[in-house]
Every structure is written in structure tokens, then in C-alpha cells.
Amino acid sequence: MDMTDTKFIASPVPASAPAALEIVGVRKDFESFSALRDVHLRVNPGEMLCFLGPSGCGKTTLLRIIAGLETQTSGQILQNGKDVSWLPPDRRDYGIVFQSYALFPNLSIAENIGYGLVNSRARRGEIKTRVEELLKLVGLPTSGGKYPSQLSGGQQQRVALARALATRPGLLLLDEPLSALDALERIRLRGEIRRLQKQVGITTIMVTHDQEEALSMADRIVVMNHGVIEQVGTPMEVYEQPATPFVADFVGKVNVLRAVALGNHRFRVGDMELQCDACDGAFEPGEAVNLYLRPEDRAVEHLSHDTANRLQALVTKVEFLGGLCIAEVTADALHGQALGLHFSLNQLHDLDIREGNTIDIALRANRIRAFSARTPKP
């Protein structure tokens, strides 16, 4: 994967600021495959970073290497400039929350939260105050005397969070913290973790395979695939300017059109010539490319004669999903290649978008992304 420098200049903090965590050329080889290959990454102080990728992409392995629970084959981990690459877990500075909560079932909530404090030889009074403070912080002020089995999954995960924060670590690691929860609780806790993280101001790394979770919570997202970082950027950047076909495909929904480059930001799809302002102009004329278009990147209003990429499309299917629906359309001009487009329910009614009808639309020239159709070298 060829990764140009520009894709990494996405951090809101200048690169000269000291990194809270720096991962330098980390590799992890297992017997039969490489889980991570030459991963470089800077984590800025106080930011919330999400590792996002499909299962097996290496995101959990990377988190466990940062925690010292796995050993990298080569490479370095620097925390606040200090090399911790080969330190055992208990000599590193972090708090961790697991998908399974890992609360001690035989200890009360207060004892769970105070578990790490007891060891730091804090006075009993201080521990009590700190535990109460944390219980309040996670919104469970009266649950200190209960046992984990008496709490719901979401509440247990908040306790695990409080326990991880109790010793005031410099780094918080969250390993798929929401995956074991049901849908409603997941969304509620999503906002809560983010609020807590901002309130405490702790540098946080979260692993998730849920793109919505990453988009809604992260300052920056690290998209990973096959042990390689595909892109690092803010949620908006990752969504709007995917650096690779994989990112475009994995984050959000996307239509793919086979096309041929004509040069000067123009591409031929079937009989049509599409204008693509945002695309890389470096394609050789005649080169096969794939055009990526998100379902919402179509215009239906204020169309005029000089609107680029206008076409008459036949609606072949409407999938009703509630407020936002998907219409599948084809056009002869595209040689039958189908597109799935988002329309609000109101638009469906107003524009009379129904199976069998023809609609007049334009594909947004500033939103189409083009990638070479040649398979990238591994």
C-alpha cells in the first residue's frame, strides 16, 4: 500500500508537540501470518483515537501490544517520549477496559473501583473519597455497596471505566467496550464515555469494529486492514476523503462504478462522461478506474443545463427503511451499472420516486472519488 505523506497530516495538533504515545515501526508476526506490518502512529495528548477495522485487521493486537499484553516482533512504543516497548504490563502507565467488563464478581462495586487504590498505599479515607467521586463521575453514586451481578451490562461497564480511571493513569485503553451491550445501552454509553473522556481529559485509544461508534466518538480514526493502517484522520476526513478504496468501502456505504480515465478530472462510464472535481488528476488517459460515490451524493433540485453529471435514471427498486430510504436506479447511459441512492421519505413523495418511474438526477462532481482499478500491490 503506497501511502503518501499527505494522508497523515490530519492531526489538529502540530506534529512538533510531544506525543502522548508513539508507535514506531511495530510488527507482529504469528506463526502463519503477520498481524501487524510496520505500523507508525502518533497519539496526541488528550485526544480520543479509535482503531477501526474488520475483525482480524490487527486493531486488537495493536492495543494489546500498547498494553504490554502481547509482545511485538519488532518496533517501538514510546509513551511520553519514554521507551516502554519491552516493559511488562505492570510497569506501564495505563488503565484498561475490556469488552467482558472483567469486574471481580466477589467484590462490591466500591471495592472494584478502589482495587488499584488500595495498593498505592493511599489512606483509607482518601480511597473512600476517591471512590465516591468516581461513582458520581460515572453516574452510579448509590451503587457502591452492590455486586457486579446486580448491575446491568452498561452499568458494569461504567464501573469498569471508573476502576480504570481510579489510579489516574496517563492513557486509557478501551477494547471494544460497547460490543457486549444491547443496542440502546450502546448508544447511551457511547455519549457518556465521550463526555467522561473530555471531562477527565485523558488520552484514550478505543478499539471498535463499529464504524458508527468510531465516527460519533473519535477525535481521529485509524482505519486498519490486514495489519496495515489505511488512513488516519478525523471522522469527517475519513468519511469524505477516504484515502483508499478499502476505507471508502468500509466506512459508510458506497457505490462503485467502473470507468476509464480521460484526463483532466474527467472519466467515461458507459456512454457518459463524468466530471470529478475532487479526484486526483494524475490518472493516465485510458487507465481503468473505479469511481466511488456515496448514496447521498446525488442532486435532485436546482438542476440546470450546465449541471455536471446529469442523467435520467430508472428506479428499479425502493427499499423502505423509515425516514431515510434507498432507491436503486439504473441508467442506459451507465450501461446498466446500478446505483443505490438515499432519499428522505419526504423526497420520495415529493419527487414521486417509485419503482418504474424515471427521475432526473445529477451525481455531485465534487464528491466522486476515483481509485485505480488495478489491484494495489500487497
Binding site: T71, P89, D90, A102, G116, S149, Q150, A166
Partner: protein
Amino acid sequence: MNTLARPLPARAAFNARPVMRWSRDETIARAILLVVMVMLFVFLIAPLLTILAHAVQDREGRFVGLTHFITYFQTPSLLRAAWNSIWVSAAVVMISVPTAFVFAYALTRSRMPMPLKAVFRLIALIPLLAPSLLSAISFVQWFGNQGALKFLLGGVSIYGAPGIIMAEVYNTFPHALMILVTALSLADGRLYEAATALRTRPFRQFMTITLPSCKYGLISAATVVFTYVVSDFGAPKVIGGNFNVLSVDVFKQVVGQHNFSIGAVVGMLLLVPSIISFVIDYVVRRKLKAQLTARSVPYSPKRRKLADPLLMLFCTVVCGLLLATIGMAIYTSLISLWPYDLSLTLKHYHFVLVESDMADAYTNSLIVAIATAVAGSLIVFVGAYLIEKTRNLGLMRKGMHLMAVLSMAVPGLVLGLGYVMFFNHPANPLNFLYQTMAILIISMVVHYYTSSHLTAVTALKQIDNEFEAVSASLKVPFFKTFLRVTVPVCLPAILDIGRYFFVVSMASLSCAIFLYTPETILASVAIMHLDDAGDIGPAAALASLIVVTSTVVCIAYSLLTRVLLSRTQAWRNLSRS
């Protein structure tokens, strides 16, 4: 990627193959695990190797190759013992396993009243509490030369194969039953519903669903029973008469003729069936486990007009036979002299506990059982914890696990023989252990290591794998989390292991037979001597004492654990409020 800091090339080369530093915790964990492993090596592997060495050496320690094996195979009387062992064991399998299967089927698949099932189950487990000698003594009383039911045999002598088979069926019944109950409890109710929906007859359902689903259970039960009988020493010693089997042969060669070389050869031969069935059982158990994890709907039996009463009748008959066996032994201990003076008396108990030195044997057994329970559960649990929860153990983990499960494959008699040869050697620095109580306790712990180990591993696998990672991140030493969380959470399993160690070492004979001295003699050995001397009454009394002790301990244990658990395990039964 010029925005990223890169290491200097020289430094990268220097760091080419660094190793993860062990924390103090990890070093401690490895050190303790190493101690357990060394212990298992010294007390399990080394003695076995010594037997092997003896089998290929002459008395002066010169290498003689397979000479002893050739001698053995050219001696018809010795060879016959091997054949006897095999066919008798096979016969016991043929009787014990089907009986246990029907019994287990009745317990799991019939609509007998629950309390009745509980009673049947308890009675069926009684043989576990007694030394294997007890059933043999009892069958001698029933069918022996002056047996109450001798006429039933129609002139066939109980001494020899018939007696051994009867006694071993009794002894192995609960072992087979426990495995088969587990196998039969795993039924998927949906399969039966589907079959019924397809109008499959009950008999065909049984043949096509029930039997195949407990195939592995049946194989496992058969191998366990086979191994038990081949390596058991107590029953053939008491009721075998002139009928030679391998286990008694080892004893005769070593104790009677001091022929260690042939003893070693027989010991090696005794190991063969055990190892084979161990491998079969190991493979089969893995498949059984795979079945267990499958998502299925539990089967709830339906009332059957004919089958239910028949199964109940069957269970009643089997329980009657089991009770008749243990009952005869207890009865014998309470009467003056069978069959001449049937007056009830406590004189055998008085003799055993007061007049003779058998009281010491009983005390020794108690001490050994208690020490084994305490030391065994401690060592087993710590060992299992360390291999389950320490990261990056690599080969250490595999080695430890292999030794832990291997102990099951070694018959007690062979282990004891190995101890004699290994620790009795003057050059062995551990020679001081020989002829002490300590070596008896160690042999018990090692001999019964496997099932305790598996119990501990199962319990440990059920608790969250990240406890150690969490405590490391909180800078809490692992042993603190071990004591504060792991042990309390696993307490029920640990207590189970302790009770198991107590009961089995209380009744164990084969392990101790080569290792006792007049000072460290155990009750089970004393029973054998009493029986040899014709003192059936005292022998029965002592055997009954063991049964009573184990029963009392089990009851006290369950009461105690109930109190203990209600105090420490309150968190278990809480529901969300």
C-alpha cells in the same frame, strides 16, 4: 512519512531481537510453576524412567536389552496372567458399562420422581467410598466356601475369575455411571422433537439419536473401566485365589521374590493398556467437550407407561445388589463369626481400634487423607492457575499440562513400584523420603492429580481471562488478585478437589502397597493383611470404618461448605434490583 519519528538505524539494529522483560510478578509465577513441574517430574516421570531402566538391566545394573522381556514371554504362567488380566477386564466392561448405561438412562431420561432419582444416584456412588477390597470380602461372604448363596453358583468356585469380575463390576459401576450420566445429559431436545414430528418410533429414536449421541461417553466409560480393572490390585488379591493377573504378579515378583527386573517388566506391561486407553479416552473426551459447547435445547423426558416402571424396577434391583454388597461387609463386621455365630457384636471394632495395632493404620490413613486433601488441592489449584493465567509460557505450559494428565495413565501399583526403585536407591538425594508418611502423601497427590487438575482448569476457564491484565494495569501484584478474587470465586471447585483427594486416598491400596512400613501402614493395607490371615471380621470392620469415615466426612463437608459458601459467596445469588 516524515511526520513520524523514526528510530535511528543503529538503534533499530541493536533492538533487533529484544525480549519482553518479565515483571517481578511473571518471574514469581514462573518460579512457582517450575517448582510444581519439578515436583511432578521427580515424583512421576523419574520413577517411571527408573522402572524402564530396571526392565533392561540385570541385578548388577548391566544393560541386558530385552532379555527380561524375552524371559517373561517364554514363561507360560506369567504370560497367562497377562491374558487373564485382559479377558477379565473385558468381561467387566461388558457387564459394568451396559448396566451403568441403563441406570444412567433411567436417571436422565425417565420420569421417575426426582427424590427417588437422588436416592438411586447416592446409592450408586457408594462403591467410591470403599477400598476395592471391601467388595471382594463381601462376595467371599456371599458366595465363598461358606457363602450364604453359594448354592446359586452350582459348584463353580467364586475364587478366581467369577469373583474378580463380580467385585470389579461393583467397584467400577459408579465410575462408568458418572461418565454416562454426563453423556446422556447432553441431549438436544430439538432432535427428539424433530424425530417425533417425522413420526419416528421411540425404538428407532433411541437407536438413531440417543445411542450415537453418547457414543463417546460409552467409549470413555469402557476405557476407564478397563484400565481400572487391569490395574486394580485389591479385589484380585482377596478373591482371585490361584487365578493370576498382572497386578498381583507385580506384587508377587517384587514383594515375594524380590525379582525387581521381572517386576519392572510386568510394570511396563501394566502400563501398556493404561496408556492405550488413556490416549483413547483423551481423544474421546475432547470430542465430548465439543458436543457440550453446541447450542442445544435441554431434553425433557416424557412420561412412558411401560418404560418408566421398567427402568424404576431396574434401578431398584441394581441398588439392591449394591446395598447387598456393602451391607454384607458391614454385617460381617458386626457379627461374631460367619456362619457359626451370628450374634451381633462390636468385638471386631474393638479388636481393630483397641487390641491390635490396627488403630495406628486407621490413624495413618486419616492423616494421609487429610494431608493429601490439603496439599493436593493447594498444589493442583496453584499449578492449574499458573498455566491457565500466566502469559507467554510456551513450552512450559504444554509440559505441565502433559504431566498433569499423564498421571491418570499410570496405575497406582506401577507408580508405587517406581517409587521403590527410584527413592530406595542409595545415591538418590531424596532417599530420606523413603519409608516415610511423606512419600505416601506425595504418591497419593501425584496418582490422583489428573481429575483434580481437570476440575481446577474447568473452574478457572469459567472466570474472566482479563483479571490478570486488569490487575497488572492497576499495579496490583498477581498473587493479591489470586487470593482476593480467583480463590474465592473458585472456592466451590477447590473444596470439591479437597474432598475428592480425601475420599480416594482414604480408600487407596495399590499406591501404598509398595511404600508402607510397619510404622506407616495404612488401613487399606491392614485390611489386606487381616484378610490374608483369615481375620475376615476385623478386615470387614476396618473396611466399614473407612466407608463410615468417608461418608461422615462427605456429609460434614457438604454442611461445612454450605455454611462457608453462604458466607463468602453471597454475590453469586444476587439478582438485578
